[in-house]
């Protein structure tokens, strides 16, 4: 049994949500990137969360980790802009499949989850400090 197991669980959640935040930030930054190293417009990325068993006894403590950063392959918008350097012979440009509203919503969800884990972390800390006060008796 790890005395401070709960802190690791909260920390894993904070780390995972931060990674999600980073991915969302790159999606938003690349909302108009029509060129990438792989060729074609930017494809939005998504994190894949998975629970990971951190402690078996006395209770199962399950943390979370990012197991994959997957690309979303749905096609993006095609806009007509003949002056664009990446326009095809008909004047159409393939845009990334990033939807700013969707990214903002995801960002708010990540923020809420992050805040909840911070609260959990603080509550754990208060509980431990309270127990430590017993030694001052």
């Amino acid at each position: 049994m790890d005395t401070f197991g709960v802190f690791k669980v909260s920390a894993s959640a904070l780390e995972a949500q931060k990674k999600r935040m980073n991915v969302i930030a790159s999606n938003m930054a690349n909302a108009n990137s029509t060129r990438t190293e792989e060729g074609g417009p930017y494809k939005r990325k998504d994190v894949v969360f998975s629970s990971v068993l951190m402690e078996q006894a006395p209770v199962e403590l399950e943390g979370v980790e990012v197991v994959d950063i997957a690309a979303d392959n749905t096609p993006g918008k095609t806009i007509y802009d003949p002056g664009h350097p990446d326009a095809d012979e008909n004047g159409f440009v393939q845009m990334p499949n990033v939807n700013i509203v969707e990214e903002m919503t995801n960002m708010m969800m990540a923020l809420r989850a992050y805040e909840a884990s911070v609260s959990a972390f603080n509550i754990s800390k208060t509980m431990f400090m309270k127990t430590l006060e017993l030694t001052r008796q």
């Binding site: 197991g5 709960v6 669980v9 909260s10 894993s12 959640a13 949500q17 999600r20 894949v48 969360f49 998975s50 629970s51 402690e55 006395p58 209770v59 199962e60 403590l61 399950e62 943390g63 979370v64 969800m109 990540a110 809420r112 989850a113 909840a116 884990s117 609260s119 959990a120 509550i123 754990s124 208060t126 509980m127 309270k130 127990t131 006060e133 017993l134 008796q137």
Partner: protein, 119 residues
Amino acid sequence: MDSFKTLEQLIHFTGMRHGVLTSNIANADTPNYKAKDMNFTQALDAELDLKTTGPGHIGNSVEGSQGQISAEASASWEDGNNVEVDMEVAKMTENAMLFQTAVSLLETKIRMFKTALRR
């Protein structure tokens, strides 16, 4: 001396439940994760072993089951996850209060013993 044991059990159970609730909050966005909780009243009832000597007394209502952990049956979101973060934070606060109450009581108990020993 019995209340020492009761308080110890209470601290033990609230500590374990805290771990379960922390896991729920950490996995608030994990697909197919199901929220878990500990059945706590049953465990405590079994531990308290209340004696009844009259018909109007309230004794142990439930038998056994030492703090069982069960998955919550509430409806899932589209991704198969059924964690409601607000609920979990509320439960965790309540649980932490109970934990702190038990520790405070233990503190008082120890102080009482020390006072008695000093006389």
